[in-house]
Each structure stands twice: as C-alpha cells, then as structure tokens.
C-alpha cells in the first residue's frame, strides 16, 4: 500500500510511519519550503541578463527554472540565498539584497 506521506507529520504515532521511513512518491522536496531559511535574497536585473544560463546549473537547490531556453524568475519558495548564482553570473545581473524579500 502506498502511504500518502503528506498525511505523516511530527505528531504521527510510530505505527503510522512507512517501513524504514521510505518515501513512496517522487519530488517530495517540493513540499518542503526552504525559502524561509534565507537571510539574503538574489535579485535578477532583467536588463543586464543575457540569458547565458550559466547560473541555472550551479544552483544547489534548483531554484532557477529554465523554460524554452530562457531562465525565469527565482523560485523563492525554495531559494536559501546562498549567492552562488551571483558569483556565476559574468554580467553582474544578479545581486544579493539584504533580507528575505526580493
């Protein structure tokens, strides 16, 4: 039986857990908002961005979505504000802004 893991939480008794804490679903990390861990926030300057896409693959949390060959806005639900994308951008199009808000 595939347990609905969205129904398991920190109040669940041990009998409700899955065997070996196995997760019977894919992409479960999407359900976990790590965006609130952020103390600094990356901001994209659309005018400076050349869509070279060097930033997207280096993001450790896959928070730079790419569609039709173009990067989109940051996924602030999950971005932890590490700033690696700032270092990767050759055009200075990404800057870190203090605080959790973009």
């Amino acid at each position: 039986m595939r347990t609905d893991i969205t129904k398991i939480n920190e109040r669940s008794p041990y009998t409700d857990l899955t065997e070996g804490l196995q997760l019977f679903a894919g992409g479960t990390s999407r359900l976990f908002g790590t965006g609130e861990w952020r103390t600094n926030t990356p901001v994209l300057d659309q005018d400076k961005c050349r869509q070279c896409l060097l930033c997207a693959p280096v993001c450790p949390d896959s928070c730079i979505p790419v569609k039709d060959g173009k990067r989109l806005c940051f996924d602030y639900e999950h971005c932890k504000g590490c700033g690696i994308c700032v270092k990767a951008c050759p055009f200075g199009a990404i800057t870190m802004k203090e605080g959790i808000e973009a």
């Binding site: 039986m1 065997e19 196995q22």
Partner: protein, 404 residues
C-alpha cells in the same frame, strides 16, 4: 509462500558438509543477486555458488566485491532495487559489514546472510565461536543458529519466507559453526527442487527502486522527530517475526517432515538439570544426555535455535514447565566482564522478568575452536547437581576446558 497447500517433498539421503548443504539450498532458491567476498570458513559458499552459475545451473548475478563492507552495501542496493539478495561471510567479514548491517535492517530489506561462525580476532584465529554473530546481536537482524548441516540447510530455506513476510521485512542471518559443521561431512536429507522452489516462492516486493512510475526513496535522512519512531516500528517488526518464524517452521514440517520452533527441548520433560546451548555443541550435549540418562541422571538439553527475536517468555515457560533445579547456560562467546556472556545475561534477565527463579550458572566454552566434549557436559551436570544440593557455591561465570 502458500501456507495452505504445501507441496510434500521426498527425502534425498546424501552426505555433505555444512557449506555444501547451504550452497545446495542456494542453488534451489536461485536468488537474484549475490555480492560476496571470501573469508575462511565461509569461502566455499561463494566458490560453490560461482560454480553453479558458471555451469548454468542458476542465473544469480554474482558481484565480486573488494570487501565485505562493499558486499553488504551492494546487497542493500540490490535488495532495495527489488532483487532477492543473499551473501555469505564469517568473523572479521561480518565485522566489516557492521555499519551496513544496521542499515539493511533499518531500511527493512529482507536480505539473507549465511554466517559461518568464526571467532573475532584477536588473538587471530580461524576457528569457531559465536563472537561474530553475538557482536551483531543488536543490529536488528533475525538470527537463527544450526546444530548440524541438516539444520543449516533447513534454516536457509526458511529464511526467505520469514524475511520477506510483509509482517516482518527484516534481514535474516542463518548461522552455523565454522569448520565443526561447515567442513564436516555428515549425513543429510535433502529436499526436491520443486517443493523447495514452491515453498520459497517468487520474490514479489510491493515497493522497490527499479519500478517505473512508482517512485520511492529508500533510506532518507531522518530527523530526531522521526528516527525514534522508526526504531520502535523496527522493534515491533522483530517482535512480529516471532509468529512468522513459528508459522514457517510448521509449514516447513509439512513439506519435509521436520518442523522447527524457537528451540528444541531434548529430554527435558522430567529433567532436574538443564543445559541451554546453541549450535553444533548442542549435538554433543544431547549425546551426553543420552549416556547420563542411561546412568539414571535426569538431565536434558534446551537447544536454542532462534536468538533474535529472543524467545524470552517461551524459554522461561520451558524452564518453569520442566521443574528443573538448576540450569547451565552455555556461551560460546566472551563479553569481557559484562554480566556473563550474551545468553548468560539475557536468559536470567528473561527468567527474572517472568518470575521464574531457577538457579542458573553461566559457562563459557569453545572459544576460538576449543573442543567441547561429552566429558565436559558430564562435568557441568555434576557441578549443577552440587550447586542445587548446596554443596557448592554457584559460580557466576566459569570457563570450560581452560588450563588453570
């Protein structure tokens, strides 16, 4: 495994060593994957299985690994992927698997490991004692010990239905004494291939990694809010394993004529003195009991087969039922100033919890292959008699066959 319609098997009389017997069972089960690294005295098992594979008798995928650490890691990966997986090892090999043993159990993977018991170094030595298996007693594996080649074979066939039962999903260690049974040629009654295959059945896990469209994550990091609950759930599965072991043991009897329980009570019905013992030395103890009974001594043997789950209550009941005056608890393992050896501490703890206050004496025997003989058994029963009669103070922890 169908528990209702068990196919009966004809007995095939043969003679072979314990290692050959287990390898023969592996050939009949034809597991999907066997990662293994050779170590004395279990080396013959991967060697013989490799021969079966080379001869096209089975299609098991043999993974030659560079260490036992890798062997158990590969076993975990293969079992999680959905393959029926087994391995074999001894002594230091089991010790090198240590970290992975706990993961196999906590990930609830029904791996079967055949352990050919050998002492853990040092001093370095290749011979039998139970320090390897006992060292792994709290890793969450089911442990079943054999008296001889027949039981090693029978236990091995039962291992898969026990491990893979949805109430259990835990790994199983099938243990036999290194050299004493692994390398001794003795009579055995083998079973026919078809009933064994039907008994073990096809492995059909509900959830496994290589299952397109049904993603699953195995072994995720567990924060403290979940880990303790996971451990309790694992403990509950071990407890449920008890009923499954009994069911499978009974079913095995329908196929083979040999049923199995947690332990065997040998001439215990009216025994005044009992010996609790595990492994090949139980046979020697039984032979001694036969001789002593002829001489008029009321003695018996309780041969422990299942060490994990530990049948605490059942042992206490058996001792209580026999009405015996004193019990010798035999450990083929030293715990260096623990409260006696593993059996010597767990059995009295179980007796205490069940309010059975029979006198016990813990004996340490057979370390690193030291021979254990009929005369030793005689000496122990004579000593128990003295202890019960009050002419001798019960020692807490005594060595047998030691030069003093």
């Amino acid at each position: 495994m169908s528990r209702e319609n068990v196919m009966k098997s004809r007995a095939i009389p043969e003679r072979m060593s314990g290692n050959e017997a287990v390898s023969f069972a592996i050939r009949q089960v034809n597991p999907d994957v066997m990662p293994a690294f050779p170590i004395t005295p279990s080396t013959e098992i991967p060697q013989m299985v490799s021969t079966f594979i080379a001869n096209g008798e089975i299609d098991t995928e043999f993974i030659p690994v560079e260490s036992e650490h890798s062997a158990m890691s590969a076993a975990i990966g293969a079992e999680a992927a959905g393959a029926r997986t087994m391995t074999a090892t001894s002594s230091a090999g089991l010790a090198l698997m240590w970290e992975e043993l706990l993961l196999a159990a906590s990930n609830r993977l029904p791996i079967v490991l055949t352990l050919v018991n050998r002492t853990l170094s040092g001093p370095i030595n290749i011979n039998c004692d139970h320090s390897d298996g006992m060292g792994a007693r709290d890793t969450g594996w089911i442990q079943i010990y054999a008296e001889n080649n027949q039981e090693a074979y029978d236990n091995y066939i039962q291992a898969f239905p026990i491990a893979e039962d949805p109430r259990v999903h835990l790994p199983v260690m099938i243990c036999q004494d290194g050299f004493i049974t692994s390398h001794a040629v003795e009579n055995i009654e083998l079973l026919e291939d078809a009933p064994v295959k039907a008994f073990v059945g096809e492995y059909e896990p509900e959830e496994f990694l290589l299952n397109p469209g049904k993603p699953v994550s195995v072994g995720p990091y567990s924060v403290s809010a979940y880990a303790m609950e996971a451990k309790k759930a694992q403990e509950a599965a071990m407890e449920r394993a008890g009923e499954v072991i009994l069911e499978v043991g009974e079913c095995f009897g329908k196929m083979s004529g040999r049923s199995y329980g947690f332990f065997e009570e040998y001439r215990t019905e009216d025994a005044e003195y009992l010996m609790i013992i595990m492994g090949s030395a139980a046979g020697t103890a039984k032979a001694a009991v036969d001789l002593l009974r002829e001489e008029g001594h009321k003695v018996g043997v309780l041969k422990l087969r299942v060490f994990r789950p530990f049948p605490e209550k059942e042992i206490a009941e058996a001792i209580s039922r026999s009405g015996c005056r004193a019990v010798a608890i035999m450990d083929r393992c030293e715990s260096y100033n623990g409260c006696s050896g593993p059996l010597g501490s767990e059995i009295p703890a179980g007796l205490y919890r069940n309010k059975v206050m029979t006198q016990t004496v813990n004996y340490i025997y057979g370390l690193a292959g030291r021979d254990f003989t009929v005369d030793h058994v005689r000496d122990i029963f004579a000593e128990l008699e003295e202890v019960a009669q009050g002419t001798m103070k019960a020692p807490n922890h005594k060595y047998i066959g030691l030069r003093e």
